[in-house]
């Protein structure tokens, strides 16, 4: 994590946080990501979290388990989570290995994710993004 570009970026987008995972994360990085994100939800007073996994071509069981944990922790901190950008191959591999995202909602891409959160958090569309 110390050297090179961070494998995850957490950006603010209106009332939401957008966490983009850029490369495959090892277990330590995954835990670190979880920690950073949960911290950020409090600091930024985020109402929703979008985790973008479009760059991942594989998602192992620890990864999907961690995403699930993050969603649960975020909920306790007052934010809804949606996972976006799961690739076709990844989606089918996850299902075949019996490790779906459980109860976390998913959406096709960032735009869809924001639309979903707008609906889920009763935000008026267009009230953010400045």
């Amino acid at each position: 994590m110390e050297q090179g570009p961070a494998p995850v970026s957490i950006l603010r987008q209106g009332p939401y946080l957008v966490a983009s995972i850029h490369t495959a994360l090892d277990d330590t990085q995954m835990v670190r990501f979880r920690h950073d994100l949960i911290e950020a939800i409090g600091h930024q007073r985020a109402r929703g979290v979008i985790i973008d996994v479009a760059a991942l071509d594989v998602l192992d069981s620890f990864g999907s388990r961690t995403l699930h944990d993050i969603a649960e922790m975020a909920r306790l901190r007052g934010a809804r989570t949606v996972i976006v950008g799961i690739q076709p191959d990844v989606a089918f591999a996850m299902v075949r290995l019996g490790m779906g995202t459980g109860t976390i909602p998913t959406a096709l891409d960032l735009e869809e994710g924001i639309a979903f959160l707008n609906g889920a958090t009763d935000m008026v569309p267009g009230s953010f993004g400045g």
């Binding site: 799961i86 076709p88 989606a91 089918f92 996850m94 998913t106 096709l108």
Partner: protein, 300 residues
């Protein structure tokens, strides 16, 4: 002089005598086969007909093919170049496979030719058993190699055609069709086997991404039956689609399939099913916020 003999000697050093023999004997036997070309070819063609092989061909085609095969055969014996024969065998396969010639026929005619020629060599040299032996030593490996090449080429060509047809069938059999913005339908016609189900999932998931679909209607009216593997695969496809943010509606489950699914105990709690394709489309339009009004109404 030939690749074939060079290989023989390199692999079997103990047969150096045989090598010297081959140098001398092969040209001799080739000359013999050339000299009696017409007679031997006719004998062969007759035996092919007697054995009821190549019945799909007319007499004219037979004559042309047998001449070509015969000449090539002798040429390969002479030069040891299997490439020329391979090329010819592929070419032959391409022409005769569409007419329904079977593998056993092709192998059969080549083996018949091999026997006809062996018989003629036998007759010519039977006064000298030792010479005959050496002639056959030179002839048999080469002849076997030719039979082998033709059979392999033929089977390869057949497999290539089968693969081509499978590919074509596969592309045709899993259309993913956009009917409205963000709405796809996927009609399934014909038997769903494991391979097709896999293909279907792949096409569907790629289609969801390409068309940014939110709702997919899978219509299985045209599928006569599904087994447990395929049913589970369908359930997985529905789950995977959901991971990509699309809802799946399944329509047209026949009474047979409905009974099968319940009997084999596939977990269908997450499946959203509607009776027919029309109902499925109406429901999909409702989910997407479309209203369809008859006669001059506007579609929002």
């Amino acid at each position: 002089m030939t690749q074939f003999q060079a290989e023989t000697t390199s692999t079997e050093e103990s047969l150096e005598v045989g090598y010297v023999d081959n140098e001398r004997l092969l040209p001799e036997l080739v000359a013999h086969l050339r000299e009696h070309r017409n007679r031997l070819r006719d004998t062969w063609a007759q035996r092919v007909t007697e054995s009821n092989l190549l019945e799909a061909m007319t007499a004219q085609e037979m004559a042309a093919e047998t001449t070509l095969v015969y000449d090539n055969y002798v040429e390969v014996l002479e030069t040891g170049s299997v490439e020329a024969l391979q090329h010819y065998a592929r070419d032959l396969s391409e022409r005769i496979i569409p007419r329904g010639v079977e593998t056993h026929e092709v192998v059969g005619i080549v083996l018949l030719l091999r026997d006809v020629l062996a018989r003629s060599l036998f007759e010519k040299y039977r006064h000298d058993p030792e010479l005959l032996n050496r002639i056959l030593d030179a002839y048999e490996p080469a002849a076997n190699r030719i039979a082998n090449t033709v059979a392999v080429s033929f089977v390869e060509e057949r497999e290539r055609i089968i693969r081509q047809q499978q590919d074509a069938l596969r592309e045709l059999s899993t259309p993913v069709l956009p009917v409205r913005e963000r709405l796809l339908i996927l009609p399934i016609i014909g038997v769903l086997d494991g391979e097709r189900a896999r293909q279907l999932t792949e096409q569907l998931l790629l289609g969801i991404r390409a068309h940014r679909a939110k709702v997919v209607v899978i219509d299985i009216t045209g599928a006569p039956e599904v087994d447990e593997t395929v049913a589970n695969h369908l359930v997985q496809t529905v789950d995977a689609s959901r991971l990509m943010g699309a809802n799946v509606i399944i329509t047209g489950l026949s009474p047979t399939i409905a009974q099968t699914l319940v009997t084999i105990g596939v977990d269908l709690s997450k499946m959203y099913t509607i009776g027919d394709l029309q109902g499925g489309l109406e429901e999909a339009e409702r989910l997407l916020g479309y209203t369809v009004t008859k006669q001059g109404g506007d579609i929002t």
